[in-house]
Amino acid sequence: MKGLFPLFLGIFGTFAFSWVGLTLVPNFQIGHLDPQMDEDGNDAYPVPRSGMAERGRKVYIENGCFYCHSQQVRADYAGSDIDRKWGERRSAPRDYIFDRPAPLGKERLGPDLSNVGKRAPAEDENAPAAASAPSPAASPAPSASAAPSADASPPAEKNANAPGKTATSADSAPAGGQLQPYSAAWHHRHLYSPRSLTLDSNMPAYRFLYEQRRIGGEPSADAIKMNRREAAPEGWEIVPTYDAKCLVAYLMSLDQSHPLKEVKSAAAPPAAPAPDKTAK
């Protein structure tokens, strides 16, 4: 090849084509979305995170949780995500407009977390909508929020959504009672010792997010109750740091169940309040 000019031109031209085609054009198409609202301008979705959940998002990113946990539900024809009850509809670009970075993830060495906040038991203040969601009417199988507890093994075996093989009660039941799966206390214990709740879990423990301290006066309400082997010595307790509380607040905030106009909700029965414009 002779002459630098055609070479330069070609090198620039081909790459400009790709840059415009794969980043600028899509950005024009999906890069400026607004939250969806109903006709009265209420019920905005999504809303930006704030406070502890926002800080928890940073904890999630800086510890690389997104390398193993995706946050995207694929459509029913593309994978088993909806069958696994990771969500009731596929994720859409609008779900992520306030995320930076958008933690889509690229691998699943752990389950998808797009809707993990929604799976929290109903009495948890962060997920008041969980019980009233339209799904149970349609699906005969018990959904995660309906599964009674980590110790009730028969429904857990049938239900792929339950967190794997749960540890047997003799080995792991905390002294104070039973943990509702995906409740805040469950998340804390799971982060502190994943295998005490899910025997087959492959998740690293995040003990550096917790501190062991001497009980001064009354024991803390949020101390993690472990079984004998992992329990703190007499007179000590294991409490979450502020980062751990933020991380759990973030996890509890993950919820893509709000219907979007552009996505058909797979699990919504025809009778349930449809996510269309004429609903109200």
């Binding site: 070609g10 090198i11 390398y67 694929r74 088993s80 995320d99 970075p101 492959n202």
Partner: protein, 495 residues
């Protein structure tokens, strides 16, 4: 002594000097002028390689021993993994690539290296940037964008370092002698211009004026795949186009094939990337466009493969002797395998099983290690003796290095592919609990750790050998070190 001041002429009073002698002296002078910057890039790269290998071992073992060091924040898996990836990408691969590219540029522009200070400063800044970035990641400052995890303060340093290197490369082109621009120079020039573009574009679109939501993921993958293809791929292919004909001593089979290969590569490979987001929350056309582009990369891959094969035809026995050739050909073959795997994995019907599994790790290692790193090893075996004036000391160590690396990367690819398949198969069956998928891949992850041990052995062997060369402990000999004793006939020249 400033190498730029050495006149590139034979002494005028020597009448019977042949043109070949002049060229040889000229080449030696050019090599000498590149000594300091190239060795600086190589030494840094190898130090990063060792660090990255140790981190990789840690990452690999922790995947099946998750309770290891769980109380220490900076040793958590989610921080060491990006540290490993970034050390390998920016510390090892990029620095080795730049080192080789500098040397090739000087040789092919047929001019002594001018302004070495630009490059020395570039290498120093580059090292500083990588160090800063890795410390940032480990301390919990990661940005959360794949391959762009370095926090802002490190990216700036890295970009400044790169500006120094590119300004040097442009200067070299101004001083080049001769009209023809060789194939290798197309690829190198492309790499040198594409990298700052993609890096700056990604930095601007992710951090300075961030795009919204899922577009960030699109930009990240656009950057990541272009980094793989148009930065590492271009340097690797350019190097192979130089080393293979050079070692066997015959010209490239077809210049026209090379032209087709280069332009179709620039056009199609740059459009890949979105297939890694298959079925995600994106307009389907983006993903389909990338899948189509991935399939079309068959054209450049086939042309380049054919060209190398036809060049090599009749000379394959030289693989028995030349370390450079053996590493380079292994890399070139891995490039074909890597591209074929990329095409297969991009198909939607396959992605249904392999998306979100460890198979994607197999894919990137086949590209970055099997192809790029092996080609870089090959070029180092060729270039380093010409810089230090000594030959490699032990053929046995080279063999150990080659087989360690070859078996290591082969085992890793097979383990992760097979593991990815079982993982994907159990994941796509909703009647199985999710933990079935993570349990089914465990034996393969243990196998992968074994391959990590092989690679670690290979790298430490190579680093030791390189250290001997650096301290002047190589052989003084007029013939290069062959892998096996050469019998009477050998066709190629290694000069």
């Amino acid at each position: 002594m400033n190498p730029a001041e050495i006149p590139l002429k034979a002494p005028p009073n020597v009448a019977d000097i042949s043109a070949a002698d002049v060229e040889q002296v000229e080449r030696a002078l050019i090599d000498a002028s590149t000594r300091v910057p190239v060795l600086m890039f190589y030494t840094s790269a190898i130090v990063w390689l060792l660090i990255g290998t140790l981190l990789a071992g840690f990452v690999s073992f922790k995947l099946h021993m998750p309770d290891m060091f769980s109380g220490i924040s900076f040793l958590t898996w989610g921080r060491i993994r990006p540290a490993h990836m970034n050390v390998m990408v920016y510390g090892w691969a990029s620095m080795a690539g730049i080192g080789t590219a500098i040397w090739l540029m000087a040789r092919l522009c047929r001019t002594t290296l001018r302004h070495p200070l630009l490059l020395v400063a570039g290498a120093a800044f580059w090292n500083f940037g990588v160090l800063l970035g890795v410390i940032g990641i480990v301390m919990g400052d990661s940005t959360g964008y794949q391959w762009l995890e370095f926090p802002g303060y490190a990216s700036i340093v890295l970009f400044a370092a790169y500006t120094l290197v590119i300004s040097w490369a442009v200067l070299m082109f101004r001083f080049r002698r001769g009209d023809t621009i060789y194939i290798t120079q197309w690829y190198l020039l492309g790499a040198f211009l594409w990298f700052p573009w993609m890096y700056a574009a990604a930095q601007v679109m992710l951090f300075i004026t961030p795009v919204q939501g899922v577009m960030q993921a699109a930009v990240t993958w656009w950057y990541g795949n272009n980094l793989l293809f148009l930065w590492f791929g271009a340097i690797g292919l350019g190097t192979a186009y130089y080393m293979i004909p050079k070692v066997i001593g015959r010209p490239v089979y077809s210049y026209h094939l090379a032209t087709i290969g280069f332009w179709s590569y620039a056009l199609f490979a740059s459009w890949t990337g979105m297939q890694r987001l298959v079925d995600g929350p994106f307009p389907a056309w983006m993903i389909t466009a990338s899948i189509a582009a991935t399939i079309l990369t068959i054209i450049p891959v086939a042309t380049v493969g054919l060209n190398h094969h036809m060049t090599m035809r009749g000379y394959f026995r030289l693989l028995h002797y030349s370390p450079t050739l053996r590493f380079t050909i292994f890399g070139a073959m891995c490039y074909t395998a890597f591209s074929a795997l990329g095409v297969v994995m991009s198909l939607r019907s396959v992605a249904r099983y392999l998306h979100f599994t460890e198979a994607s790790i197999a894919y990137s290692h086949l590209g970055l290690y099997g192809f790029f790193t092996m080609v870089m090893f090959g070029s180092m075996y060729y270039i380093v003796p010409r810089l230090v004036g000594r030959e490699w000391r032990y053929a046995s160590l080279i063999k150990l290095h080659f087989w360690g690396s070859a078996y290591g990367v082969g085992l890793m690819t097979l383990m992760l592919l097979a593991g990815g398949l079982t993982q994907g198969a159990s994941m796509s069956d909703p009647s199985l609990p999710f933990t079935e998928s993570t349990q089914s891949i465990l034996p393969y992850l243990r196998g992968r750790s074994l391959s990590g041990i092989l690679l670690m052995g290979a790298h430490f062997t190579f680093a030791f050998h390189f250290g001997l060369m650096l301290f002047g402990l190589g052989r003084t000999a007029s013939v290069p070190t062959f892998l096996n004793p050469v019998e009477a006939e050998h066709g190629g020249t290694e000069t």
